[in-house]
C-alpha cells in the first residue's frame, strides 16, 4: 500500500526527520490560507500515487497567497496518468543548495534491509543507477542490531557531507530506518533530502510503501489508504483477499496461484485469446471468495467468456465448484464459462459441476481452446 507524500512526510516528522512547514488543501481557498499562514513562496504539489507528477505539471511554485490559490485551482482536479488530483500539499519553498537521495528497501539477495544513498538526489534513483552507478552507496543492515551510529556516520562521510551536517544526517538516516522498520515498510524514501541555503537538512519529498501483509499490525496506517485511487473492482478484490489486475482482453480468468494464473494467461494467448485479467484466488479459497472473484470478473463488460483453472492443493475443488454455482445464483449472466478443476477433492468438485450441467475440461490446453472458441462464438 502506497502512502501519499504528505502522509509519508508526517510519519518522517514523527521520527525526528525535519520536513518543510506545510499542510494539505482540498480547495484553492484552503491552499491560499495555508500559503498566507506560511508566508513567503510555497510549492503546490499534487498528491497522487503515481510518479512523474512534476513532468505532468502537478508541482508548481507560487510566490504569494493569491498565486497559490490560482495554482491550486489549476492542479486540483487535474488528471495525472488516469488519477484525478483530489488534494495538494502546500509546502514552504526550500532554498535548495544540494540534493541527496536516501532510501531504505529490502535487499532480497542479502535478505536484509539496505540503506541506499546518493549525493545525486532529486532525480529518480533508477536514473542514477543507470547513468552513474558508482554514485550510489548501499549499506546492508542487520535487522537484529539495527542501524548502528558508526554505519550512519560512514554513510555521511561517504556522501561527502560537510562536517556540520554529519550529526544531522545521522539522526535523519536513523529516523528513516526506524520509520521503515516500525511501519513494516517495503520502501521508505527521501528524495530529495535537501541541504538548504541556511545550512540545514530538510526532507523535501518522501515516499513510503507499506507491506500489505503487515497492515494488521498498523490499523492506524491501514486507514490512510486512499480509496479514490482504486477502481471499485480492485477495492472489492482487495477486500476479498484476491490478487486482481485488470487487462484489456476478453477472456476472464480465475486461477489459484500466481504462477499458474500467469501461465494460464500465457496459454490463453497461445491459443489465440486475450486475457481480460490476472486473478489469483490464492491458496485455500472457499466458496464465498470464489463468488466474489466471479462478480469482479463479470463486472468488466468486455469479458466474453470465463475460464476457471484450479489445480487443487491447499485449495479444494469442491469448495471452488460450490463457489462458482453460488456466484451464478446471484449474478445473472449469459457469459459462457469453462471450468477445469484438478487436484485435491477433484472428484467431488467435478460431480458438483456435472450435477449443475456446468461445462468442464480436464487439461489446461483443452480448457484454453474451449474458452477461446466460446469467446469468439459469443
Amino acid at each position: 500500500m502506497k502512502l501519499h507524500e504528505y502522509q509519508s512526510k508526517r510519519i518522517f516528522a514523527e521520527y525526528g526527520i525535519p520536513i518543510p512547514r506545510g499542510d494539505v488543501a482540498a480547495t484553492p481557498v484552503e491552499a491560499r490560507e495555508i500559503a498566507k499562514e506560511l508566508g513567503g513562496p510555497v510549492v503546490i504539489k499534487s498528491q497522487v500515487l503515481v510518479g512523474g507528477r512534476g513532468k505532468a505539471g502537478g508541482v508548481k511554485l507560487a510566490k504569494t497567497p493569491d498565486e497559490a490559490e490560482q495554482v491550486a485551482k489549476k492542479i486540483l482536479g487535474m488528471d495525472i496518468k488516469g488519477l484525478t488530483v483530489e488534494k495538494v500539499l502546500v509546502d514552504q519553498a526550500a532554498d535548495i543548495r544540494d540534493e541527496i537521495y536516501l532510501g531504505v528497501v529490502i535487499d532480497r539477495a542479502r535478505q536484509k534491509p539496505v540503506i541506499i544513498a546518493s549525493a545525486e538526489g532529486g532525480v529518480e534513483i533508477e536514473e542514477v543507477a543507470r547513468v552513474n552507478p558508482e554514485a550510489i552507496i548501499r549499506l546492508p543492515v542487520d535487522i537484529r542490531m539495527g542501524l548502528m551510529d558508526f554505519q550512519a556516520r560512514d554513510l555521511a562521510f561517504g556522501l561527502g557531507l560537510k562536517r556540520d551536517h554529519v550529526n544531522q544526517f545521522v539522526r535523519i538516516v536513523k529516523g528513516l530506518y526506524q520509520a521503515f522498520i516500525n511501519t513494516d515498510a517495503s520502501l521508505a524514501e527521501i528524495n530529495p533530502l535537501v541541504v538548504t541555503g541556511e545550512d540545514s537538512l530538510l526532507a523535501v519529498d518522501g515516499k513510503i510503501v507499506l507491506d500489505d501483509n503487515a497492515l494488521y499490525r498498523h490499523p492506524d496506517l491501514a486507514e490512510l489508504r486512499d480509496k479514490q485511487e482504486e477502481t471499485p473492482a480492485e477495492r472489492e478484490a482487495r477486500a476479498a483477499g484476491l490478487s486482481y489486475v485488470k487487462l484489456d482482453g476478453e477472456i476472464g480468468c480465475m486461477v489459484n496461484g500466481a504462477g499458474l494464473a500467469m501461465a494460464t494467461m500465457d496459454i490463453v494467448k497461445h491459443y489465440g485469446g486475450e486475457p481480460a485479467n490476472f486473478l489469483d484466488i490464492g491458496g485455500g479459497a472457499k466458496a464465498d471468495k470464489v463468488a466474489a472473484a466471479l462478480r469482479i470478473i463479470l463486472s468488466d463488460p468486455k469479458v466474453k467468456a470465463v475460464l476457471f483453472n484450479i489445480f487443487g492443493g491447499i485449495t479444494r475443488c469442491d469448495e471452488v465448484a460450490k463457489g462458482i454455482l453460488a456466484a451464478l445464483e446471484e449474478v445473472n449472466t449469459n457469459v459462457p464459462m469453462v471450468a477445469r478443476l484438478v487436484g485435491t477433492n477433484e472428484e467431488e468438485g467435478r460431480q458438483i459441476l456435472a450435477a449443475a450441467s456446468f461445462p468442464s475440461a480436464s487439461t489446461l490446453g483443452e480448457a484454453a481452446e474451449k474458452v477461446v472458441a466460446l469467446a469468439k462464438g459469443a
Binding site: 510518479g51 532510501g103 528497501v105 529490502i106 535487499d107 532480497r108 539477495a109 535478505q111 536484509k112 534491509p113 539496505v114 541506499i116 529518480e124 534513483i125 533508477e126 543507477a129 550510489i136 535487522i143 537484529r144 522498520i181 513494516d184 517495503s186 520502501l187 524514501e189 510503501v209 507491506d211 501483509n213 503487515a214 499490525r217 490478487s243 489486475v245 487487462l247 486461477v255 496461484g257 500466481a258 504462477g259 499458474l260 500467469m262 501461465a263 494467461m265 500465457d266 496459454i267 494467448k269 497461445h270 486475457p275 490476472f278 490464492g282 491458496g283 485455500g284 489445480f311 487443487g312 492443493g313 491447499i314 485449495t315 484438478v342 487436484g343 485435491t344 477433484e346 489446461l364 490446453g365
Partner: protein, 288 residues
C-alpha cells in the same frame, strides 16, 4: 529417498489442529508420510488422525525424534513457529503459510543463519519424493517415482508440470516448491546443488516466474556448476510487471525481472525453455 524427504522423514505438523493442518495431515498420512507428532500450543495431549499433539516443538522432538516439520499456522504466528522448530533442533522446516510480513521473514532468516537447519518456503506447496513422503499440500496422486527433479517458485503451476510429466510417463525424484515470497529459506541454487549431487536425479526441471533475478542467478549456477541437464519454464510472458516489485527494489536486484530477461538468461547458457507445460515433458523425454 532422493533429496530432503523420504522414508527417513519423521514429520512434525505445526498447527495440526487447525482446519488446514488437520486436513493435510490426513492427506499426507494417506500418502504414506511418516507423521510422528503435531504441535498446537495448549492442545498438548490431544490426538489428530492418530497423531499425538504436543504443546511445544521441544516436547514433540524429545518424545518422537521428529526431524522435519511442516507449518500450517496462520501468518501472524508463522515466523515464530519457524524459529521454534529451528530452535528445537528440527533439520528441515517446510513453511506452507502465505502472507507472512516481509520483516518477520528477515528476522527469521537472521535467526536461522546461526542454526543448522534448512527452511523451504514460506508461501510454498512443500515438497514430495513420490512413493516415499509427501511433505506439503500438493495432490499426491499426480506424482510418480522417477529420476526428474523439480524446483519451482510456483505452487499450482508445478502441479501442472508434474502432471504433464506423469502423463508422458516420466517420474520425479523429488519436487520442491521453494515459494514465491521476497524472502525465502532456500532458493533455486540451494536446491539445484542438492539435485546435482543426488544419485537418484538424472535431470532437473526449473519452474520460474517474473520478478526478481533468482532465475538469472540460477542460469549462471547451471552454467558453472551443473553437469545434469536442466529444462526451464517461465510463467508470465504476457503478464503485467509484478506488483510487488518496488522501484528501488529493481535497482538492488539489477533488473526488471521480466520473463523475456529470464528466458534469455537460460537460453544463453544452453538451458532449453519450454513455452507450455506439455513442452516441458517433451524436452525432458528427449533427454531421458
Amino acid at each position: 529417498m532422493s533429496i530432503l524427504v523420504g522414508k527417513d522423514t519423521r514429520l512434525l505438523v505445526q498447527g495440526i489442529t487447525g482446519r488446514e493442518g488437520a486436513f493435510h495431515t490426513q492427506q499426507m498420512l494417506d500418502y504414506g508420510t511418516n507423521i510422528v507428532a503435531g504441535v498446537t500450543p495448549g492442545k498438548g495431549g490431544e490426538w489428530v488422525h492418530g497423531v499425538p499433539v504436543f504443546d511445544t516443538v521441544k516436547e514433540a522432538v524429545n518424545a518422537t525424534e521428529a526431524n522435519t516439520s511442516i507449518i500450517y499456522v496462520p501468518a501472524r504466528f508463522a515466523a515464530d513457529a519457524i524459529m521454534e522448530a529451528a530452535d528445537a533442533g528440527i533439520k528441515l522446516v517446510v513453511c506452507i503459510t502465505e502472507g507472512i510480513p516481509v520483516l518477520d521473514m528477515v528476522r527469521v532468516q537472521s535467526f536461522l543463519r546461526e542454526k543448522d537447519v534448512r527452511l523451504i518456503g514460506p508461501n510454498c506447496p512443500g515438497l514430495i519424493t513420490p512413493g516415499e513422503a509427501k511433505v506439503g499440500i500438493m495432490p499426491g496422486h499426480i506424482h510418480r517415482p522417477g529420476s526428474v527433479g523439480l524446483v519451482s517458485r510456483s505452487g499450482t503451476l508445478t502441479y501442472e508440470v508434474v502432471q504433464a510429466l506423469t502423463n508422458a510417463g516420466i517420474g520425479q525424484s523429488t519436487a520442491v516448491g521453494i515459494g514465491g515470497d521476497p524472502i525465502i529459506g532456500s532458493n533455486f541454487i540451494d536446491i539445484l546443488r542438492l539435485f546435482e549431487s543426488d544419485p537418484l536425479t538424472d535431470q532437473v526441471v526449473l519452474i520460474g516466474e517474473i520478478g526478481g533475478t533468482d532465475e538469472q542467478k540460477a542460469a549462471r549456477f547451471i552454467a558453472e556448476k551443473m553437469s545434469k541437464p536442466v529444462t526451464a519454464f517461465i510463467a508470465g510472458r504476457t503478464a503485467p510487471p509484478g506488483k510487488r516489485m518496488g522501484h528501488a527494489g529493481a535497482i538492488i536486484e539489477g533488473g526488471e525481472g521480466t520473463a523475456q530477461e529470464k528466458i534469455k538468461a537460460f537460453e544463453e547458457v544452453g538451458v532449453r525453455v519450454a513455452r507450455l507445460p506439455e513442452e516441458v515433458a517433451d524436452i525432458v523425454k528427449e533427454r531421458l
